[in-house]
């Protein structure tokens, strides 16, 4: 809401300049958005020009329709400065004068409200006018507040709207068929050309102000072109009415029309302000020499406004705010804001009557806010809420994710954070055929669906870095993946380029499947669980370089080489090998929760190590060889691990030489050479008979 400093001073004799007023009101709930120099021009007759006149632009919060007017903001200034507020009245002088209008049942026109639940009050008054331009001072004030001057009669309606916050309208009396004003529901498909020249088709649930035969205005939104005041109009009817916020909001939204009037009715105009606004408009006709009002008004009151009364105790005020506010200060502040207080009943309690312009004040807490904000939040002490019981534990995901994050950082993966919505084409390969969660109103096609996996975002981050000249990229993200079955916390990581970076001591080595497989194992180890791997096929991974990960028998993720066609589709340079992994952290932590931690006693007897090289078919998996050995070995075999693998000279085609290190140990004695020799004999027999393996 824009306000002219000199206009504010019509209502409150504040001596501070505009900048200081803006600063002070910003601490009282009206944030100053901008301060602009006032347009040059005239002031009302008898008003001295202000050298520091300015336009203050306040950001008015949605709950404060009363501050959508100069007088409403002046009330805040008066309260903040402890000064009296001076509103237009019959006894005021000069351009601030209002008049007393006599209420009549009907005048040269009649008023009927057929929709009392949507228009509670309609005040009309007729006047003879000489249409022409407004005086310069009035035009300047409208212009300063962003309203274009049109003609003296129309300008008066806008002036009253800006000054008092009550939207007004003016009809050409001669064009009101039957001299009747009827507030009613629109007929289905009723036609009306509005003031902006647009032909509109109305729906039956819209509210219109009509004459005897047809709609003349859309209630609270915009007037009709047919009945508008023209240069040759000689007699008019002013409208000052109250329409419910819901009616105006719904109609304004459906028609796509927002006006100064609809903005105020939507937020909730003052249902008691119609007569005073009408009186002011009629007085302005005379003040600017635009005509003469009949001196009467038709005040159709369908539903009288019942003021809200709220009981507030002094104890409640201080208990909610946590600072002392003396009772006299409570009374002064609320009184200045227009509340009437009746001290009554119990000690230090008030019956607070809420003024019509404050529809936002409904509960004691709303009243307390008024006291708090004008007493000043700067007086709040800084204290702490007491603790009466031990705090409950945090969501276990917080600590779990932190552990995994640290493990990934320790393995060289930098942390990525990407958008949860992605392109449908980027999501589909990762969805495994499940339906995607699609947004109804995405910002663009690039943000169309919720990611079914966290990998696409990490892949795009790799692509971004590769395209910006980075050769070696290691990124990991812990975030939510979305499916119809629910949300899933996932770790996704990608690694391309060097496994061991360039160093003066030797050649660099590029990342391969086994680097990434090792990362899976370590990420699991961070949570105290062990993964198992099995051959798998995924649309987004290269066949033969892909493994499904299980933890405690449950599917927990994948690891493998990203399919080149997909990598290229996301802008990753051709020929790049991007290894990826994704792990379902809930599966990992579920397994961790059931894994009992009990310390194993340290071995008391030494271990015996035997290395053996076997020549086996190269189609045999390492796990088959290991399993065969374990199966054939006595309980004293504690570990078996490959330490070399060789194909080439001396190894027949189709065969591979695998070297394994076997460690034996007993809990109750030192193993003898005979013990181990017997074990080895059994093992070698088993691999020979079972796998056709020869010892080299």
């Amino acid at each position: 809401m824009r306000v002219l400093y000199s206009w504010l001073r019509d209502f409150v004799d504040v001596s501070d300049g505009p900048a200081e007023i803006g600063r002070r009101l910003s601490l009282r709930g009206l944030a100053l958005e901008a301060l602009e120099p006032a347009p040059p021009g005239d002031d009302p007759p008898g008003v001295a020009p202000l050298p520091d006149d300015a336009v203050l632009d306040f950001d008015v919060t949605a709950n404060r329709p009363d501050c959508m007017s100069v007088a409403g903001i002046a009330r805040e200034v008066a309260t903040a400065y402890g000064l009296p507020l001076r509103l237009p009245s019959a006894s005021a002088a000069g351009h601030l004068r209002s008049i007393d209008l006599r209420g009549v049942d009907s005048a040269s026109f009649s008023v009927r409200i057929d929709a009392p639940e949507r228009c509670t009050r309609y005040v009309g008054a007729a006047a003879d006018v000489r249409v022409g331009p407004s005086p310069a001072w009035l035009q300047r004030r409208l212009t300063a507040l962003g309203v274009r001057p049109i003609s003296n009669v129309v300008d008066i309606t806008n002036y009253v709207l800006l000054e008092l916050g009550q939207p007004m309208h003016a009809f050409d009396h001669a064009r009101l068929d039957g001299n009747a004003i009827v507030v009613r529901q629109a007929q289905a498909n009723e036609a009306l050309t509005t003031l902006d020249g647009k032909a509109r088709t109305l729906a039956a649930d819209m509210l219109v102000v009509a004459d005897a035969t047809r709609a003349a205005a859309i209630g609270g939104v915009m007037g009709g072109a047919d009945s508008e005041v023209r240069a040759d109009s000689s007699r008019i009817v002013f409208e000052s009415a109250w329409f419910t916020p819901q009616t105006v909001r719904a109609t304004s939204k459906r028609l796509g029309v927002r006006s100064e009037a609809s903005m105020r009715f939507e937020r909730g105009a003052d249902p008691t302000a119609q007569a005073a606004a009408m009186a002011r408009a009629c007085a302005l006709l005379e003040i600017i020499g635009a005509g003469r009002a009949d001196g009467t008004m038709v005040d159709a009151l369908a539903r009288p406004h019942v003021p809200r009364v709220i009981t507030v105790t002094h104890a409640h005020i201080e208990a909610l705010l946590g600072m002392p506010v003396p009772p006299a200060e409570v009374e002064r502040l609320l009184g200045a804001l227009g509340f009437t207080l009746l001290a009554g009943g119990a000690a230090a309690a008030w019956q607070v009557t809420v003024p019509g312009w404050r529809p936002d004040v409904v509960r004691p807490e709303d009243v307390i806010e008024e006291v708090g904000r004008h007493h000043g939040f700067e007086h709040l002490p800084a204290t702490f809420p007491p603790v009466h019981q031990a705090p409950p534990p945090s969501d276990p995901r917080v600590a779990r994710d932190a552990k995994v994050r640290k493990a990934m950082l320790g393995m060289g993966f930098s942390e990525a954070i990407s958008f949860a919505f992605i392109e449908a084409s980027a999501a589909t390969p990762f969805a495994g055929g499940a339906p995607l969660i699609t947004l109804a109103n995405p910002l663009s096609e690039t943000f169309a669906v919720m990611r079914p996996s966290v990998l696409p975002g990490v892949v795009d981050a790799v692509s971004h870095n590769r395209r910006h000249g980075r050769r070696d990229v290691q990124l990991a993200e812990i975030a939510t993946a979305f499916a119809a079955g629910g949300e899933r916390r996932s770790l996704a990581a990608a690694w391309t380029g060097a496994a061991a970076g360039d160093h003066w001591s030797g050649a660099r080595r590029d990342v391969d499947f086994f680097d990434m497989k090792g990362v899976v194992a370590q990420a699991c180890a961070a949570l105290g669980v062990t993964p198992d791997f099995a051959v798998t096929e995924r649309e987004y991974l290269v066949a033969g370089r892909a493994a499904a990960v299980t933890v405690a028998g449950r599917p927990a993720g994948v690891v493998g080489l990203l399919a080149p066609v997909l990598a290229e589709a996301r802008g990753i340079p051709k020929g790049d090998d991007v290894f990826v992994l994704e792990l379902d952290l809930a599966v990992l932590s579920a397994a961790a929760a059931t894994a009992a931690i009990r310390v194993e006693p340290l071995p008391r007897f030494p271990a015996v190590v035997r290395d053996v090289s076997l020549l086996v078919d190269d189609s045999l998996s390492a796990s088959t060889v290991r399993d065969t050995i374990r199966h054939a070995a006595p309980i004293t075999l504690v570990s078996v691990r490959e330490f070399d693998r060789y194909q080439g000279r001396g190894v027949p085609p189709g065969k591979v030489s695998v070297s394994l290190r076997l460690t034996f140990r007993a809990d109750d004695r030192t193993l003898t050479d005979d013990d181990v020799a017997a074990a080895m004999q059994g093992i070698l027999a088993a691999v020979r008979d079972g796998l056709g393996a020869e010892q080299r």
Binding site: L27, R28, G29, A31, T61, A62, N63, R267, A319, L320, L321, G322, M323, R363, E365, D366, I368, E369, G372, R373, F377, L380, P381, A382, F384, P385, P386, V387, P391, P392, S394, D395, R397, V398, M408, G412, S414, E415, A416, I417, S418, F419, A420, F421, I437, T438, L439, N441, L443, F447, H464, N465, H468, R470, V473, L475, G485, G486, H503, S505
Partner: protein, 383 residues
């Protein structure tokens, strides 16, 4: 036959010559110095061909009376030469490295260490300060129902405040299934609780991406009796186009404290502690009255400008203050929604944008940098 005087002059010449040779040997690389020093040693103190041995060889040719004096002079010269050479030798030995030494100025072989994302760093700092203050840290679902995101937060369908929230909706609502996270499906108050909120009895279809972490407040209060002391941190979504200060997804930190006698002053102390943890000791905090549907009274909170210390600069638009969050006392309507008695308990709540804090802390001019994951950006942050 040389006279003693001639011989004394000869020794003086030797002294000068040695000094010159020594100065010449002092220049050059260590290896060159080493060989020069070796040559000096041989040329001067060598038993056979050394210059001092040559001088001594002249002794027999002197008259016996002069021999003693000359002998002393030559020995003194010898001592000076040996001392000078020993000194140089010691200096050289200090620079000489053992045969198994390495050049420790070569680059090390660094085990890989990743870099933290700045949003994650802020999140952790916020978590830390609130854990110190005895809060529990919670997370909630990102796809929400209308009830938890809006209605229970005092924003019924027609509420003007919904205009403030530009919401992203799902094309087809999801029915929460048994697989949906426990937080999303639980709608029952804790066993033994007599509370009756106005929430619907059946789970609602999930229709939107949460616009604020406040939805989490409601879910928690539905399931737990007061007191409550929590922070919830996570991504939220609004239909904002990307620009320097907006992204359609961003991160929020929500705080909620509910109990008997909780006041606005408690909120001020708490936020002051957070501001000091995030921006440094002595960071001032300012409350400005504002409006949110779910708090009453409501306040926007500013911290003293961290760039200029409050003197006024372009970052704070010359006000000396930076807005960092919205807050207030929980609206009684919110308590009624979850079945808390507003006559029994009060509470405060606040919501802060993590990106905003990170941008202020590290002078990040473009919010989009947080979502590009450019390593040149991330590598500026450590663990």
């Amino acid at each position: 036959m040389s006279t003693l005087d001639e011989l004394i002059a000869l020794i003086a010449e030797h002294d000068t010559a040695f000094a010159a040779a020594l100065a010449a040997a002092d220049g050059g690389a260590p290896a060159a110095r080493e060989s020069a020093l070796k040559a000096l040693e041989v040329g001067w103190t060598g038993r056979k061909a050394g210059k001092i041995a040559d001088l001594m060889a002249r002794l027999p040719s002197l008259p016996p009376a002069d021999r003693r004096s000359f002998g002393q002079l030559v020995n003194a010269l010898k001592a000076r030469v040996e001392a000078a050479l020993a000194e140089r030798e010691a200096a050289l030995a200090a620079t000489r490295r053992p045969s198994n030494a390495v050049d420790i100025t070569l680059p090390g072989r660094a085990p890989a260490l990743g870099h933290r994302h700045p949003l994650s760093l802020v999140r952790e700092q916020v978590q830390d300060v609130f854990m110190r203050l005895g809060y529990q840290v919670l997370e909630g679902p990102e796809i929400e129902d209308d009830y938890h995101n809006f209605e229970a937060l005092n924003m019924p369908e027609e509420h003007p405040a919904r205009d403030m929230q530009d919401t992203l909706y799902l094309a087809a609502p999801l029915m929460p299934s048994a697989a949906v996270s426990a937080a999303a499906e639980a709608h029952a108050p804790p066993a033994g609780s007599a509370r009756r909120g106005r929430r619907p009895l059946a789970p609602q279809p999930l229709t939107l991406l949460r616009t604020h972490t406040s939805a989490m407040q409601i879910r928690h209060m539905e399931q737990h009796d007061p007191p409550v002391r929590l922070v919830a941190i996570g991504p939220v979504y609004r239909r904002d186009n990307l620009d320097l200060t907006h992204t359609p997804m961003f991160h929020q930190c929500e705080g909620l404290v509910v109990g008997k006698g909780i006041t606005l002053a408690h909120l001020k102390g708490t936020l002051l502690a957070m501001a000091e943890a995030l921006f440094g000791a002595g960071t001032p905090v300012r409350f400005r009255p504002s409006f949110f549907p779910y708090t009453e009274p409501s306040a926007e909170v500013d911290v003293g400008c961290i760039r200029c210390g409050g003197k006024g600069c372009p970052v704070c638009k010359h006000t000396g203050w930076l807005e960092i969050l919205g807050s207030g006392m929980v609206h009684p309507g919110v308590f009624e929604a979850v079945g808390y008695d507003p006559a029994e308990v009060t509470g405060f709540a606040f919501g802060m944008g993590i990106e905003r804090v990170a941008m202020l802390k590290w002078d990040v001019g473009d919010i989009r940098l947080f979502y590009e994951n450019d390593l040149r950006f991330l590598e500026q942050f450590s663990l």
